[in-house]
């Protein structure tokens, strides 16, 4: 049975790779290439989902190695509860995205093959990343994933901003990989092989503190921890919308997966690891949502929310590590379960939101918030789906985001009670950060949903918007139903993460959570009450006059769409308390004189991570590196001396070692 569970995702990878190749061969025929590639992705996702569910249901624990060797490593794949859960996330979200992409790409005026091939390769590579049980094979899959996504990011490469985003992304992801090389090098040095089983055996002797820091930096660059997220808000919006959904929804979660996997090699965690991750999570979460509030581009706003949600996930992992460090499995499993479930939930609602943003772009030709408005009348399905995603991402009941945030809250509260006083500071940070993130996210999504879908159209494009095609709508409806299902039936959803959370939490079984049934019944009650009150109002208004008029404008009878509150004005007071840390640039040319001419006002919020943290670090690094130039003269003789000195040095070291040993 376990053998079958392992081979299904491998078959899915084969299908993805084969259809990617077929789509490449059919490259001249856009339609054929799109159909072959998308169908391949859909079939592979459906099959893979079956495999993931089978693996979760049978609690499959299996590892197999292929007969071929890789240089330094081997092709080794395996399944456990963590891998099975991530497989479930990948296949579910990629499947929905592939369905959406079928409709979305059809309208594009360029060669489609690169997007189709890239998408299938990206999904296949992610599957291999979570299946890999050998560091060399893992890094190989990781690299394919990064490069496939680079080609997806630069799909619309005729635009300058897209090419820039692609380059930034490529550099960022390779800096991350460099750190991962160092990490696995350190781990492998002690183990003598790069197989994960060996790394896990000797990981606690390989300098776990340094390894942990390297893992946080290396995987954090992919996941988008603040301030390593600098590439994310450029790269994710640049890709086609269904790819943004997969990148934000699952690809950055590969960083979370890698972190969890490597931490499990490093033996019992000290408490400061948990505290560090809580801090990283709190800063990423708050910085992410504050920057999201300041955005005027819908997709960029969503990309910053990925930083926020990665922050929430990291908070959960931090709480889990704290519980682990103090030997409290209840706190640990709650933190990990919340973090893992949020991985799935964020994938679902962020996928949904990016698809909604894609439909807006498709229907109006713009994603600039201030040019949109009133779309809910012309695009009702997209509006409803986006609303579901928006409520879910704010962590509000009765949707899925609430369930995972609730688990993290519960872990933090339990941590406050059960952990020693010095750990409570970190727990309190987690609580306050989650609450603040929740409040700010609500502000941001009321803004995004309200300005895009409600009120009156602010431009011609928005006035003549058209609803998306069947495939796109079907994908969004399915995503919305999934969000609602997890929110209404958390008892079932918790089974997806229970095994992995218990394993990470260092305990045999996941505690039964009777409270989840209460959440479920209250969510049902809430929906019933909403329905009941709607009927009540209908009955009340039945025999009474219901009129339509213009919006109350304080006596002004001719309101125009330009008089509506803008996204920037909406966000301004929310941002005010954070003004001290934000990079707010104002360019104003105010009306002056007796006969004022054209006036101009422009407010722009830059990313403080780049300007205040990364650029200074980079400058210092460059400055130090340039000092090494002293030894670089361009004279062959001198270089030969260096070689000689090094060789003699190594020889002496060897001899010394031999004598000493």
């Amino acid at each position: 049975m376990h053998q079958i569970a392992l081979s299904i995702p491998l078959v899915a990878v084969a299908i993805l790779a084969a259809t990617a190749m077929a789509a490449a061969v059919l490259g001249r025929n856009d339609r054929a290439s799109l159909i072959v590639g998308s169908l391949g992705a859909l079939v592979a996702s459906g099959l893979g989902l079956v495999g993931a569910v089978l693996a979760l249901a049978t609690r499959a624990e299996i590892e197999r190695a292929a007969a071929w060797a890789l240089p330094l490593g081997s092709i080794r794949v395996g399944l456990d509860s963590l891998t099975a859960f991530f497989l479930f996330c990948i296949f579910l979200i990629a499947g929905l995205a592939a369905l959406y992409g079928m409709g979305y790409l059809r309208g594009q005026q360029r060669r489609l093959a690169p997007a189709v091939v890239g998408f299938n390769l990206l999904v296949a590579a992610m599957v291999l990343v979570v299946l890999a049980r050998d560091a060399v094979f893992f890094l190989l899959a990781w690299e394919v994933m990064s490069i496939a996504s680079y080609f997806l990011v630069t799909f619309e490469s005729e635009r300058d901003s897209v090419r820039r985003a692609g380059t930034t992304y490529l550099i960022a992801t390779h800096i991350g990989v460099l750190v991962l090389f160092a990490l696995f090098g350190l781990l492998g040095r002690g183990a003598g092989s790069f197989a994960f089983a060996d790394l896990a055996r000797t990981g606690s002797r390989a300098g776990p503190q340094l390894c942990f820091i390297l893992a946080v930096i290396g995987f954090g660059t992919k996941a988008g921890f603040w301030p390593l997220h600098f590439w994310l808000p450029d790269a994710h919006p640049a890709a086609p919308s269904h790819v943004s959904a997969v990148m934000s929804g699952v690809m950055i979660k590969m960083g979370i997966y890698g972190l969890l996997r490597v931490v499990s090699f490093l033996g019992p965690p000290p408490a400061w690891w948990g505290a560090l991750l809580v801090l990283v999570g709190a800063i990423s979460g708050i910085a992410g949502v504050v920057h999201a509030l300041a955005q005027h581009d819908l997709k960029r706003l969503l990309a910053y929310h990925s930083v926020e949600n990665i922050g929430i996930i990291t908070l959960g992992i931090g709480v889990g590590l704290l519980g682990r460090a103090y030997g409290n499995p209840a706190v640990a499993t709650l933190g990990y379960a919340g973090a893992l479930l949020h991985v799935l939930n964020h994938g679902l609602f962020k996928g949904l939101l990016f698809q909604g943003a894609g439909s807006v772009l498709h229907g109006t030709g713009t994603r600039h918030l201030e040019s949109l408005g009133g779309l809910s009348r012309r695009m009702p399905t997209t509006a409803a789906a986006f609303l579901v995603g928006a409520v879910a991402i704010c962590g509000l009941p009765p949707l899925n985001g609430f369930v995972s945030e609730w688990l993290i809250y519960l872990g933090a509260f339990r941590g406050g009670t059960d952990l020693p006083a010095r750990a409570v500071g970190a727990v309190a940070i987690a609580l306050v950060a989650l609450a603040l993130i929740g409040g700010l996210a609500a502000a941001c999504f009321v803004k995004a949903f309200g300005v895009v879908f409600l009120g009156e159209a602010r431009s011609e494009g928005a006035r003549h918007a058209h609803e998306s095609g069947l495939a796109m709508r079907a994908a969004m409806i399915a995503g919305a139903i999934a969000c609602l299902a997890i929110g209404l039936f958390p008892v079932a959803a918790i089974h997806l993460v229970a095994g992995a959370a218990a394993e990470l939490g260092g305990t045999a079984g996941f505690p039964s959570l009777g409270a989840l049934a209460s959440i479920s019944s209250l969510a049902g009650l809430l929906l019933a009450l909403v329905g009941g009150l709607a009927l009540l109002r209908m009955a009340l208004l039945k025999s009474r006059p219901v009129e339509r008029g213009t919006t109350w404008g304080c006596g002004y009878p001719h309101p125009s769409p330009r008089m509506q509150y803008t996204a920037a004005s909406f966000a301004d007071p929310v941002l005010a308390p954070f003004a001290a840390v934000l990079q707010i640039r104002t360019h104003a040319h105010l009306p002056e004189g007796m006969f004022p001419t054209a006036a101009h006002f422009d407010k722009h919020v830059g990313d403080m991570a780049g300007e205040r943290v990364l650029v200074p670090i980079w400058r210092t690094f460059l400055h130090t590196a340039l000092r090494l130039k002293v030894i670089q003269h361009g004279r062959m003789q001198l270089y030969l001396v260096y070689v000689l000195v090094t060789l003699v040095g190594l020889l002496l070291w060897q001899i010394g070692g031999a004598l000493g040993g």
């Binding site: 509260f413 609500a442 409600l454 769409p561 509506q564 007071p573």
Partner: protein, 307 residues
Amino acid sequence: MADPGSIALHLGLLLLVPPLLPGLIAKTKAVASGRQGPPVLQPYRDIWKLLGKGAVYSQTTTWIFRAGPIVTLAAALCAGLLTPLVGPAAPLGFAGDVVLFAYLLALGRFFTMAAALDTGSSFEGMGASREATFSALAEPTLFLVLAILCIPAGSPSFAAAFTALPWQTWIAAHPPLIAATVALFVVLLAENSRIPVDDPSTHLELTMIHEVMVLDHSGPDYAFILYGGAIKLFLFASLLVHILVPVPAGLPGLPVFGAGVVAVAIVVGIVESITARLRLVRVPQFLIGASVVAMLGLLILVFRGTL
């Protein structure tokens, strides 16, 4: 809390008492300023009258506008089933209900703000923006208060928290609970749009927060909004009462609870009578101040190690 009697009592209180509170506050303010003021039961009459009226909808609005009041009221009612009224337990309370309580109220706020933006009015957008700002800043304070209450109790539920409160010692000197009371009172004022955060009786749209968001609602929709707002105020008042005094379960607790809720309403009325509304730029400082108070309370609680 399984017996039908106490459930009936809870539901009766939850459905019938809330509109009394805004009436009491208005009466207190009237008395304090030497006026006679509207009768205490006026909010009931207002709601009843509005339920019987027709409605006017703006041409700009969509179903979101109609959903706003309904979702807000439904969320408040659900939160009411989690909040203990008479006795420390609520009918549907569970381990972790405090989080659901806070997020249900947030859900209601989300839909109120969305409904405001649905009208396309710049005034309502302004109100929504302010509400978003202040509620985001009040949220951490609320969770710090919940942490002070729930961490010693061992479970994030109102029932555990209110059962575990140390009545004998706290009135004398219990800094964490004093901090929690002060902070929760500020949250009550902010969440229920009372002075000094918001002035519910102002007449200039530019200065309003909550009232301006619901300008375009009329008839039954507006009745739902008034009723939902009253329930929210009632729930916060109930939480304060439970922190301040032990409320026994069943009928013996009724006088204690009733007197407590009335007292909270009168205190809110007095605060409204003797303070002016803060300038809008000062409100964030007021709210952050409250969260600092709550944070201090939590620190004292944790590092004293006892409760």
